[in-house]
């Protein structure tokens, strides 16, 4: 079994908190924001073990849940990192490409399932969301890659 790391988990935990501040702040200011939290959770699939990632995802949905009981969006949010964790082992590309594609596809699938009509009526904003999420994911991946090895290598 892969060795678990409390330090690495703590770094991701605080990154998630900072990213949550950023995402919610941007949304409050501009009315929309890139999916920074989802990108961070997808990224965690490349660096953390399954138990650490499950704990991080649970904390993420604890922050994001806005209903008495978690709805479809929250369930999707929890599942995506696990799907990415599995899928990354299948695709042969570099970790960063897998991670960026994983984040972009997660966001696309997330809105496709939860609010398809909004994508059709706001294609430009949706394109911005995808592009900015991809850029954020690539930058964050590089930062983590400098300090840690990905769990796939």
């Amino acid at each position: 079994m892969k060795k678990l790391s409390i330090n690495k988990f703590a770094v991701f935990f605080f990154t998630l908190i900072i990213v949550s501040f950023a995402q919610l702040g941007i949304k409050a200011e501009f009315g929309w924001s890139p999916e920074l939290i989802l990108a961070t959770l997808v990224l965690s699939a490349f660096y953390l073990g399954i138990l650490e990632m499950a704990a991080l995802c649970a904390f993420g949905i604890f922050l994001l849940n806005w209903r008495p009981l978690p709805g479809l969006e929250i369930v999707l949010f929890f599942l995506f990192p696990f799907v990415i964790m599995y899928v990354k082992t299948i695709f042969p590309w570099k970790g960063m490409i897998n991670c960026v594609f994983g984040a972009v596809l997660s966001v696309a699938f997330f809105y496709g399932v939860s609010n398809w009509g909004a994508i059709v009526s706001n294609p430009i904003i949706f394109a911005y969301i995808l592009a900015l999420t991809a850029v954020f994911c690539a930058v964050l991946f590089q930062i983590f890659n400098y300090f840690y090895k990905t769990s796939s290598t």
């Binding site: 919610l24 200011e29 499950a54 704990a55 649970a58 806005w66 209903r67 008495p68 978690p70 809105y111």
Partner: protein, 233 residues
């Protein structure tokens, strides 16, 4: 304690919090949500101005005095709001046991206690309810604009839009917008017109809706618990 057990404990505790104490998460998120600080007096005056304009427009358009809309409102606190893009939902602390039903209008009040539409009750739980606001991309409402009462369709979103405004309408920026949908109280203030545009090659004009409040600043809304939505219209 082994490291696996620590993570497992963290996971279990978080899941317990999600299901048993979701309000803790809502409070933490409320602290994280930063919004532009705006003078309260200014916001109240904007709301007041909107509701007075809507009154003037409604009465002017119909040329007779109408009974003003007086609902049976209960006040509620906003717990939480939708954290992702495109939708705008508010979770409030009033539910089925307080008499809240799906379809009832949610409003905020101007200084002179005139209601301004915020949204509609979308889903009701025992102690809480979800409100779909005018900032939700799924929100649509038939409205009239200005003293001439030009018909329009309000489409929700980050910047709510007034669409299908007839080309010959005499509308100016700042004109009041009020509801005429059978599913909403007649004459309820929605906002005022901003950036009205007429294109020579199109049959209809478009404008933006100025609501006079910021959706992120909403901490209290009121629900008309006597209002019964007219079904199948």
């Amino acid at each position: 304690m082994r490291k696996e057990n620590l993570f497992l404990l963290f996971l279990v505790l978080t899941v317990i919090l999600i299901f048993l104490y979701p309000s803790l998460g809502w409070k933490i998120r409320a602290l994280m949500t930063v919004s532009g600080v705006q003078n309260n007096d200014y916001k109240n005056l904007v709301l007041e101005n909107e509701s007075l304009k809507a009154d003037l427009a409604r009465l002017g358009a119909l040329k007779k005095e109408l009974p003003s809309y007086r609902g049976n409102f209960i006040q509620s606190s906003v717990y939480s709001n939708y954290p992702f893009n495109f939708k705008s939902e508010l979770l409030i602390n009033r539910g089925e046991k307080d008499g809240v039903r799906a379809g009832q209008p949610a409003v905020i009040f101007s200084v002179s206690s005139k209601p301004v539409l915020v949204g509609i009750v979308e889903e009701v739980f025992e102690n809480d309810s979800l409100i779909k606001t005018v900032f939700d991309s799924r929100f649509q409402l038939s409205v009239r604009v200005g003293v001439d009462g030009a018909n329009s369709l309000l489409k929700g979103g980050n910047n709510p839009k007034l669409t299908l405004i007839p080309k010959d309408s005499k509308i100016e920026n700042g004109d009041a917008v009020y509801s005429v949908s059978p599913n909403y109280p007649f004459g309820l203030t929605v906002g005022v017109v901003r950036n009205f545009k007429l294109f020579s090659d199109q049959f209809f004009g478009e404008a933006e809706l100025e609501t006079g409040y910021n959706q992120n600043d909403l901490r209290m809304v009121s629900i008309d618990i006597n209002y019964e939505k007219i079904i199948n219209q």
